[in-house]
Symmetry: C7
Subunit: 95 residues, 7 copies
């Protein structure tokens, strides 16, 4: 079973606390607004343009990203938790 986000949306598997420590990321701030790290597990078909085409998203499956936590919606699926958000709410891709 899989999940396919709609349009410009992206599904992210949030990183566990221990992973974040290993990768060297420390995320500061208050609990409500702190950016969060995770891995892109599915991407939408792209942003709908006024000419009817879709601009493909920049991020791809497997990208590790930092995103503004408050911007997404949490969904549990087969016992795993995902965050669904619009690509524009992703701050950076970690390379």
């Amino acid at each position: 079973m899989s999940i396919k986000p709609i349009g410009d949306k992206v599904a992210i598997k949030p990183a566990q606390a221990e992973e974040v420590t290993k990768s060297g990321i420390i995320l500061p701030g208050t609990a409500q607004e702190k950016p969060q790290q995770g891995e892109v597990v599915a991407v939408g078909a792209g942003t709908l343009l006024q000419n009817g085409e879709r601009a493909p998203l920049e991020v791809k499956v497997g990208d590790r990203v930092v995103f503004a936590k408050y911007a997404g919606t949490e969904v549990k699926f087969n016992g795993e938790e995902f965050v669904i958000l619009a690509e524009k709410d992703i701050l950076v891709v970690l390379g």
Copy 2:
């Protein structure tokens, strides 16, 4: 008798609690904002573009989707309850 959503709107038959358990989805969160699962039963003609054409929707009848419950409007029709919402308020299609 059937229902046909307008434009970019989609009609969804919300899943019953027992179905959700079988498919392995567990939806967390508060009652007001929790995402909900359902099946697409009808789709609109598409999003109106500035060139006058319509971009067809991504979802199709029969798709199982997760959506933000607060975004839709509930309508009862022939004894069944449906949620009508814009396609952009659908988070993911379950594959």
Copy 3:
């Protein structure tokens, strides 16, 4: 004497309570936000596009529709009550 809505607006004659029961529709919800059923009695010339043309509306005279009651403006005309609203505030057409 007739009424002609402007642009993307539609004039709807709300269904009486007894009609709604016969057609099998039961509309739930609070009084302020509950969707309402009615018949389209007049439609505007269409949505103005940036190329100066008008995209014709999807609904046509005679369509039975469900709409978000709060979105429209009530007008009494020749003793009959109508609701005037933008087509986008119509949820579904009943087929």
Copy 4:
């Protein structure tokens, strides 16, 4: 002396209470939001489009219209009162 509205604006001479009764219109609702009837006495050059042209307005001088009263600005001119509003705030033209 005449008045010429700007752009997509329309000048309306509101109907007197006795005229409204004769034409069979009864306007319900609270004083603040009730729709009002009147006659179009002047129209703007049209809505500016992104290609620099103007889309002519749908209403024309002499049209009897129903409009949302709160949307316009009242101006007295040569002892007569007019309401100036954007065409989109007109609900219907009476035919």
Copy 5:
């Protein structure tokens, strides 16, 4: 010394109370929102369009206009008071 408004802005010299009386205009309403009469003394280069061109303004120097007073910014220049506002905040041109 002269003033040149930017873009879609217009500079207006507000009419004195005695002039308004002579021209037959009586402006009702509260002090904060009442429309005001004046003469256009300078106009901007026009509204920037998405093709990079500018749509010239409708009003021209010398036009007597009625405008929503709250929409503009008052500037005193060489001892005279002017109101600077976007053309869309002008209601009508007096002919």
Copy 6:
């Protein structure tokens, strides 16, 4: 060392009180909203259009302008104070 504003932004050196008196400008109003006079010292590359080109700004270095003070951001640079604002927040160019 120089400053280069981004996009449609403009850098202005605010006029000193004594200069304003000499040029004959008297700026009324409350301290928070009063328009202010100054000289353009740097301009951005222009407004980004949907075709990817940039529409050059109307104002140029050396222009004396009046602007809405609340709209800009104050920056001190090499001991001098500048106001950075979008060109649309400039009211008029003094000629």
Copy 7:
């Protein structure tokens, strides 16, 4: 390990207080709204246009910029703090 901002976003390494003093910038204002200086360390692929292309950003890696501090999101990465913000929230590039 590197960071790549999304779309029109830019990653900035904020300047330390001692650097700011050396370069001659003094940033006034309250703590919440004061502009801040920093160096661009990574830029996004550009602003998505309606034709599906991307307009490249104006700033480039190595640019020293002044930005509105409240507009960005702070992220710590490998022990260093960065601010991620949209290019439009950058006020000026220091030359």
